[in-house]
């Protein structure tokens, strides 16, 4: 595997950009352009991560690829379900615990993906 797609390069680069974007405070001194630039650092980082993931998936054989794609689809279903539910619970006037949307996406992604891969593996292997 060539070095730009090596997980040992991809994951630290993504984590670094993620942390920089996350640590940008609203009150950061300096120009608004700088804040926007730092916040949008997540875009190239995410695109890099997605491209790397695509590269990794393409290295897999047909069956493993299907298992991974079904895992991603399960992650999508979990994210949508949780977001819709919390959205309407909040709209109905109930207090949703201090949960940021991004936490929902991250948690839903991990839980959904792991569950999807688990069930797909049980089905195909």
């Amino acid at each position: 595997m060539s070095w730009p797609w090596n997980p040992l390069v991809v994951l630290p680069v993504f984590t670094l950009c993620f942390l920089v974007a996350r640590l940008v405070p609203r009150e950061l001194a300096g120009s608004s352009e700088l804040r926007l630039f730092l916040a949008l650092l997540i875009v190239p980082a995410l695109l890099y991560l997605f491209l790397a993931q695509r590269h990794w998936v393409r290295q897999l054989d047909e069956l493993q690829r299907r298992i991974h794609l079904e895992g991603y689809v399960a992650a999508l279903a979990v994210i949508l379900l949780v977001v819709f539910t919390l959205h309407f619970v909040q709209k109905a006037g109930f207090v949703v615990p201090s949960l940021e949307f991004i936490d929902v996406v991250a948690l839903g992604y991990v839980v959904g993906f792991v569950a999807g891969v688990f069930f797909a593996r049980r089905r195909y292997l």
Binding site: A39, L40, L69, V73, V83, F84, F88, I102
Partner: protein, 141 residues
């Protein structure tokens, strides 16, 4: 490539994903209206209304899963690709919106992103699905 594989699978009408999407759309739209109507109502009533889109969503997922299982190899691949694009589009949009808001830009900090995304997510999902669908179709057909 057989003639059949060029066609969309034809599921029974009650498991058709278009029906599932229509039920979901009606559920989301109707719940918004219902929530305004029951504003100030009892907690169990409001909670019952909240469950409407959840069941509509589960029905929609069930129709999609049925459709996927009925599809042939090529269509399964197209659908998986399209859904993966939806996930990527939604996650990318969510993260960008989140960090732009954290940096003090749109949407305003007092506008909860959870509420915002409940309104926006269906469209980002649909757009991602459409792009993935078109790309996969061009690639496989």
């Amino acid at each position: 490539m057989s003639e059949r594989s060029l066609l969309l699978p034809k599921p029974p009408w009650f498991t058709h994903p278009v029906l599932g999407a229509a039920v979901l759309g009606a559920g989301l739209f109707g719940t918004n209206l219902l929530l305004e109507a029951v504003q100030g109502g009892s907690a169990p009533l409001r909670l019952a209304v909240v469950l409407v889109p959840v069941f509509a969503f589960l029905f929609w997922v069930w129709t999609l899963a049925t459709w996927y299982k009925m599809a042939d190899e090529m269509w399964q691949r197209i659908l998986l690709t399209a859904w993966t694009y939806s996930l990527v589009g939604s996650a990318l949009g969510a993260l960008v919106l989140h960090y732009v808001q954290r940096a003090g830009f749109f949407p305003p900090a007092d506008y909860p992103t959870l509420e915002y995304w409940g309104d926006v997510l269906p469209y980002s999902f649909a757009l991602g699905f459409l792009i993935g669908w078109l790309r996969a179709k061009r690639r496989y057909q």
